[in-house]
């Protein structure tokens, strides 16, 4: 005995049926020519009418169906976002900016180790019996952290996909600034936590690293328009340490570069460096560095 074929789905008739949308409405729906109110009504009907679903499928352009499937596939293929990414988006950052900053090459184990080393040395040297003198190492090393981060954030030799980044139309300045702000923000948060660990005895000086940290990061960016990133980072960090040693020797004050007047001069240096970055911003669109 041959199996009984399943009943054919009811097909919408050419004659309008009060229980179904007309062929014309279904065709307009399939080709996106109906308003939102009609679309909602048609969709509610389609949920319970296989015949009309069949008619809509037949009327829709194959490319549109293929595109819709790809869009569904795309939604399914997007990996689940990590907690950091979700938090940043919740804080108001756009998805694209969040993705750009999380791709910062500096955010790797070696930089975190460098941060830990700088802060441990700095904190280890602190002596509550002589807070002014013993905080010098912490204040000198703290601004080096963002410099290292910026130097490892962008450019040939530090980003394995640098040529792909440069060959894309998005401005190199935007990419390098996004990454630099990222490392600067991470540096400031981590160093602030470390500074709080120093305790009340150091309160007067514990924030003095902040202006040099921001300024040195900008200076590093300016130098990166002329030198390879690692070289630029080494030059800026080395100059900062030497300047501290020299100034302390001349002025007989270990913290002379963290005083009020010095902070103003440092800030002016930062403004000048920012001007250099803007003037030479097209250097960040090149795959090779050099004058």
């Amino acid at each position: 005995m041959s199996p009984v074929p399943p009943p054919a789905p009811p097909s919408p008739s050419a004659v309008p049926d009060p229980g179904h949308p007309s062929d014309a409405v279904l065709s307009d729906y399939a080709t996106q020519r109906v308003g939102s109110a009609v679309a909602v009504a048609v969709e509610l009907h389609l949920e319970r009418c296989p015949g009309c679903r069949h008619a809509v499928n037949a009327a829709a352009a194959p490319e549109r169906i293929a595109h819709n499937w790809t869009a569904i596939e795309a939604e399914l293929a997007v990996p689940r976002r990590g907690i950091v990414e979700r938090s940043l988006v919740r804080l108001g950052l756009s998805v694209d900016t969040t993705r750009l900053l999380l791709a910062t090459p500096s955010l790797r184990r070696s930089w975190w180790l460098a941060i830990a080393a700088c802060l441990l040395f700095g904190l280890g040297a602190a002596d509550p019996d002589r807070p002014e003198a013993s905080i010098q190492l912490f204040l000198v090393l703290a601004p080096v952290i963002p410099v290292v981060g910026v130097a490892l954030a962008y450019g040939p030799g530090v980003d394995p996909a640098h040529e792909i980044t440069v060959a894309a139309p998005l401005s190199g300045l935007r990419v390098v600034l996004t990454r630099s702000v990222t490392v600067l923000a991470v540096s400031i948060v981590v160093t602030t936590i470390a500074a709080l660990a120093l305790g009340e005895a150091y309160a007067a000086r514990a924030a003095a690293w902040l202006v040099p940290a921001v300024v040195l990061a900008v200076v590093c960016l300016a130098v990166m328009t002329a030198l390879a990133p690692r070289v630029a980072g080494a030059v800026v960090a080395g100059s900062w340490v030497v300047a501290n040693l020299a100034a302390a020797g001349v002025a007989d004050d270990e913290l002379v570069l963290f005083g009020g007047a010095a902070q103003v001069v440092t800030a002016l240096l930062g403004v000048a460096a920012a001007a250099v970055v803007v003037a030479r911003r097209r250097r960040f669109d090149l795959a090779e560095v050099g004058p």
Partner: protein, 300 residues
């Protein structure tokens, strides 16, 4: 961020390279190189150090020629403003590329989609999935780069170049690390892409060049020594290949000879009288060119 159509509206990019030269210190990487292409797949064939990568980098706007001009759809690839228009048309696979080991396959291609300004996430993600599908990587979208094999990483490099359906696709040694099945799939894909875009790829393998491209440019020492179809190149060796019972390396005019499984020797060069000529292959013709005793034939 400025969005743009996911489908190249203007068709294949027109590439025009004129008299390009590039030096690295005393070393000449490119010497008076000219090339044009508008659609289809073009292969740059040559030994290591012939200048293929330097030429591709000039086309990709990441390297600058010392002399000469590079234009894509009329835009100057060396001009600081116009090169942005060139970059809007580009998909680029560099010779050496790496990706963050902890990033997923999807994230890598999505990140390049952001750099290519492919529009908001929902639109861009469709382009990403298309590129992953083209590279046979959709099922690996959630895998971390650090867990991929060499062939998978190469396919990831190809996927990021394909994202956004660029009208100019530049691929430096794209078949490196791919197994025969993957090479076949790449060949199919590039053939399809060549119908709507201009594809320029580099290789040092003759069989790869013949399989992938309709037009070959052979570079030796920074100069183009032949331009034409693979059949044109093969024809240049006609009458210069023979089978011999001995290597004949000491005979003047014999450029190369190598032993065959049969025990006989295949020789290329100027054949002595009385030998039996054989039908040339693309490899014979290429070796004759690279060996420096090819017919006097400049770029077309």
């Amino acid at each position: 961020m400025r969005g743009r159509s996911l489908v190249a509206a203007s068709g294949p990019a027109a590439v025009a390279v004129r008299g390009v030269g590039r030096r690295f210190g005393a070393e000449v990487a490119l010497d008076d190189v000219s090339l044009s292409a508008h659609g289809g797949v073009v292969a740059l064939l040559g030994p290591n150090g012939a200048g293929k990568t330097t030429l591709l980098r000039c086309l990709a706007t990441v390297g600058r020629p010392d002399v000469g001009t590079v234009h894509v759809d009329g835009f100057d690839a060396t001009d600081t403003v116009q090169r942005i228009e060139v970059r809007r048309r580009l998909g680029y696979l560099p010779q050496q590329v790496g990706f963050a080991e902890r990033a997923t396959v999807f994230d890598v291609v999505d990140h390049v989609g952001i750099l290519k300004e492919l529009g908001p996430p929902r639109v861009r993600h469709v382009a990403v999935v298309r590129a992953l599908r083209d590279a046979g990587l959709v099922s690996l979208a959630g895998r971390r780069v650090g867990t991929l094999s060499g062939g998978m990483r190469q396919r990831l490099g190809i996927a990021q170049a394909l994202v956004g359906e660029p009208s100019l696709l530049l691929l430096d040694e794209p078949a490196n690390g791919l197994d025969p099945e993957e090479r076949l799939r790449l060949r199919d894909r590039l053939s399809e892409v060549g119908e709507r875009a201009t594809v320029v790829l580099s290789t040092h393998l003759t069989e790869e060049a013949a399989a992938f491209s309709q037009v070959l440019y052979v570079l030796v020492g920074g100069r183009i020594v032949h331009a034409g179809t693979p059949a044109d190149l093969t024809a240049t060796a006609r009458g210069r290949v023979w089978i011999d019972s001995a290597p004949r390396r000491d005979v003047p005019g014999v450029l190369r000879s190598w032993r065959l499984p049969s025990g006989a020797y295949r020789c290329i060069g100027d054949p002595p009288s009385g030998v039996v000529l054989d039908e040339p292959t693309l490899e014979d013709a290429y070796l004759l060119l690279v060996g420096g005793c090819g017919p006097a034939r400049g770029p077309q």
